[in-house]
Subunit: 312 residues, 2 copies
C-alpha cells in the first residue's frame, strides 16, 4: 500500500453563492486560501458540507478549475468525486487527475439503497478503470446517516486488494467512534479520517490520520492546536476547546450555521445563502449561535474565522 497523501485537518469547504444562487467563484477561492493560511492541511471541496450534490457536474468542474487557476496548490485538494452516475464520477476523477490533486473523496452511488457490495465494487472498479488516472489516490467517503449506502469492511478489504496503489484511506462520518476505531484496527497503513474533530485526539492516539470536519470551516485554528499539542505529547485541553465549539455549532443546522459565522466574520451577508432544499439561518438563530459561542469564549475574527479567547 502506498503512503496516503493527506494527514492532519482537512476542510469540507462550504460553497458561497451569488444573488442568482450560482457558485461565487471568487469568494470560494478566497475562503479556500484563507483556510490553508489558517493551518488546514487540505481542502475536501465538494463534500456534504459543500452542498456538492446540490451543484451540477459542470459547476463542480468549473470550481475545481478556478481553485487551481487561482493558485490553490492541487496537492492540497481532495475534491469529492462521488455521484450516482458513473460518467459523472469518471469526469470528476479525470479532472482531479489532470490537475494533480492530492486525491479524491469517493461517496458511493447513493440512490439505490439495495446496492450490494458486489455492485459497489463494480462501480468503483469501473470508475477507476475509466478515469485512467493512475496517480490519483482515492479516499472512500462513508456517511451512512446521509448517503444510507456505505462502504463495509469486507468491501474496503476487497478494494484495497484490487487497487492497492489507489485506495489509500477513508473519511468515516458514521459519527460512531467504535466504527472509526474498527477501521483503524482493521486496515493498518490506511488513512482513516473521522468526520468530526470530536474524535480527533482519541483518533490520533489510536492511529488515525487526522480529521475532515465541517466545523473546520470556522475553527481550523482550534483543530490545528489539537494536532500540534498531540505531537508535543498532550492535547486534552485543546481537544476540550475544539469539542466545545463543535457542540455549539451542532445545535444548529450545520451548513447554514457555518455560513452565518463566515458572514458575521467577513461582514458579507452574501455568505448566508444556501441552495434549496436548505434554507438560510434566521437572523435570530444566527444571533443565538454567536451568543452561545461567545458564552464559551469564542468570537469571530480569527485567522480561521473563530477566535478562541481562552487560547489567545
Amino acid at each position: 500500500m502506498p503512503l496516503p497523501t493527506f494527514s492532519g485537518v482537512l476542510v469540507p469547504v462550504v460553497t458561497p453563492y451569488d444573488a442568482e444562487l450560482r457558485p461565487d467563484t471568487a469568494r470560494f477561492v478566497d475562503h479556500c486560501k484563507r483556510l490553508l493560511d489558517a493551518g488546514a492541511d487540505g481542502l475536501a471541496v465538494f463534500g456534504t458540507t459543500s452542498e456538492a450534490n446540490s451543484l451540477s457536474l459542470k459547476e463542480r468542474l468549473s470550481l475545481l478549475d478556478a481553485l487551481v487557476e487561482g493558485g490553490v496548490p492541487a496537492a492540497k485538494l481532495m475534491p469529492g468525486a462521488g455521484a450516482c452516475a458513473l460518467p459523472d464520477v469518471v469526469d470528476m476523477m479525470r479532472a482531479a487527475g489532470r490537475h494533480g490533486c492530492g486525491g479524491v473523496l469517493l461517496l458511493p452511488p447513493f440512490y439505490y439503497k439495495i446496492a450490494t457490495d458486489d455492485g459497489l465494487f463494480d462501480f468503483t472498479a469501473a470508475a477507476i478503470e475509466r478515469a485512467a488516472s493512475p496517480n490519483l489516490p482515492i479516499y472512500l467517503y462513508h456517511i451512512p446517516p446521509v448517503a444510507q449506502v456505505g462502504w463495509s469492511h469486507a468491501l474496503i478489504r476487497r478494494l484495497i486488494d484490487a487497487f492497492p496503489d489507489t485506495i489509500v484511506g477513508i473519511k468515516d462520518s458514521s459519527g460512531d467512534w467504535s466504527h472509526t476505531h474498527s477501521l483503524i484496527t482493521a486496515f493498518p497503513g490506511f488513512a482513516v479520517f473521522p468526520g468530526s474533530e470530536s474524535f480527533l485526539l482519541q483518533g490520533l492516539r489510536a492511529g488515525s490520520a487526522g480529521c475532515i470536519s465541517a466545523s473546520a470551516n470556522v475553527n481550523v485554528t482550534g483543530i490545528r492546536r489539537v494536532i500540534d499539542a498531540f505531537a508535543a505529547g498532550g492535547g486534552d485541553a485543546e481537544q476540550a476547546r475544539a469539542t466545545a465549539a463543535r457542540k455549539v455549532i451542532e445545535g444548529f443546522p450545520v451548513i447554514p450555521a457555518l455560513k452565518a459565522l463566515i458572514a458575521a466574520d467577513t461582514g458579507n451577508e452574501d455568505w448566508l445563502r444556501v441552495r434549496p432544499p436548505f434554507r438560510q439561518i434566521a437572523p435570530q438563530k444566527a444571533r443565538e449561535l454567536l451568543s452561545a459561542l461567545t458564552a464559551i469564549g469564542f468570537d469571530v475574527g480569527g485567522p480561521g474565522v473563530l477566535q478562541d479567547k481562552a487560547s489567545g
Copy 2:
C-alpha cells in the same frame, strides 16, 4: 386545477446499454415505440426503473432528444426531471417543455435526508420559476423506500395552491395502498398513479388515474386489460392475472429481471446489461424467472413482451 395530461398505464422505461455501458439509443427508441404500440398511454422515461440517476444529465437530455426525433410523440412522454442539483432539474424541465412533453415526473432532491417541507417547497418553486415552461405539467414522484425524502400531504397542498396550473398529479411508489388512497381522497382532481399495477383496479374504483409500473415494461398488455375491463364494469379476473405476473417478477431483482425478459423475447442478450451498482441477472436466475412465469401461464413473445396464454 387544469386537467391532468395523463391517465391509464405509463411505463418507466428500462434503459438499454451498449458494450461500453453507454445508453443504446436505437434500442431505447425501439422499445419505447413497442410499448406505445402495445397499449401504453405514456412513457415515464428516466424513472427509478430506468436507472435514471445512473445516467448523466447529458445522457438523459440526449435520449429525450432521440425519442422525439425518432418519432415518439412528445405528448406521450413524462420524463423524470428530478435530481439533487437544482440546475439539473431546470435543464431537464426546459428540455421537456421545449419538446412539448405531456409532463415531467419530479423526484425530490434526495441526498439530504433532513430536507424540510419548507426547503422542498423552495426547491420546487425555484425549479418551476427557472425552467419558465408554463405549459409543462409536473407530476410529483413519491418513492420513500428509495429516495427516503418524500412529498407530504401538507407540502402537496401547498404546491397545488401555489402552482395550480402546474402541479397536476403524483406517482405514489410508497407501496402502501392506504397512502395512495389518502392521496386520492385528499386531492380531488389530482391524478394519482400508484407505482404498482397490484393497486390498479382498487385505485381505478377509488378514483386514481391509472398506474405507472416497472413491470409494464413487459406486461403493458395485461395491465391495459385491467383498465379496459374496469371501463366495461369488471376487471377482477384481469387484475388477478396482472398481479400474478408482477408477484413473480418481484421475487427477483426487478430491473435486471425486466431486462432478462426483454432479452429472452428479443433474442438480444445486450438487453441484459445494467449499470453498476446493479449487476445483471445470473443465467440460472433468468431461467428460474422464465420458468416461474411459464408455470402461471405466461410466455415471452407478446406485443408488450409477455404473452398471457390464459387470456389469449
